[in-house]
Symmetry: C2
Subunit: 124 residues, 2 copies
C-alpha cells in the first residue's frame, strides 16, 4: 500500500499515534507506529503499533482481545503525528482502565479518575 | 514546582503532549514538552510546549493570540505521555484550521475535513 507523505524521519522511523474513542472522543492511549504498522492498520482495519521496548510491531488486542477497530485515520499538518479513531473492545490500558490517561495531574500530585473495565490478572 | 514522576528520559528530555478541546473532545494538536514547559503550564494555566526545531520553550498563542487555557492535565499509565485538556482561543493549527488533524487518510490518500477559523496571513 502506498502511504501519503508521512514524516517517519524525525523520530527514527516512528511517528506518535493517538488512539481516540470514535464515539465519545475520549483519548485512549498514545503509542508509536512505523511505516509497516500504519500499512497493516490501513489494510486490516485494526490498530497496529510499533513497540519501542520490544522493538516489534504489535496488533493492539492480539493477546488480550481488546482490539481497536479503525473508524478513521487522520494525519496532522506537518505529517508527523497520526490519529486513530477507533471502536475499543474491552479497555485500552494494560492496567484495566478503559483509557491509559486515568490520572489527573495537578498541584497536589496525581489522582485517579478513570473507569476500570477489566482485571489485568484475568487477561495477561 | 514539584512534578510527579514523568518519564522524560525515553525521548531526550521530552514527552509527547496531546492537546484536546475540553468541551468537544476534538484533538487539536500533538506537540512536545520538557520539564520546564510542563511546570510553566501548571503554574500559568496556559499551554506551554518545547519546539524541537527551534529548540526552545514556547507558549502556544504568544504570537498569534491563539492561546490554550488549561482545564485539566492528565498523565498516562507509564508516565511518558501527557494530555492537556484546553479551551482553545482562535485555532490550534498554524494553517488556520481549528485542529492540526484536518486531513483524513484512507486508501485513496489524504482529503481535507476540517474547519478553517482564521487566515494565517493575517496572523503570522
Amino acid at each position: 500500500m502506498e502511504l501519503p507523505e508521512i514524516d517517519f524521519d524525525k523520530m527514527n522511523g516512528l511517528v506518535p499515534v493517538i488512539a481516540q474513542d470514535a464515539e465519545t472522543g475520549q483519548i485512549l492511549m498514545l503509542a508509536y507506529a512505523d511505516r509497516k504498522a500504519v500499512e497493516l492498520t490501513m489494510e486490516t482495519g485494526k490498530a497496529h503499533y510499533y513497540s519501542r521496548s520490544r522493538q516489534k510491531i504489535w496488533e493492539k488486542g492480539a493477546t488480550s482481545g481488546h482490539i481497536q477497530e479503525i473508524v478513521e485515520i487522520r494525519l496532522d499538518c506537518d505529517n508527523d503525528a497520526i490519529l486513530y479513531k477507533v471502536n475499543q473492545k474491552g479497555g485500552a490500558c494494560h492496567t484495566g482502565f478503559y483509557s491509559c490517561f486515568y490520572r489527573v495531574m495537578d498541584k497536589n500530585g496525581l489522582h485517579v479518575d478513570g473507569v476500570k473495565v477489566f482485571d489485568p490478572e484475568d487477561i495477561y
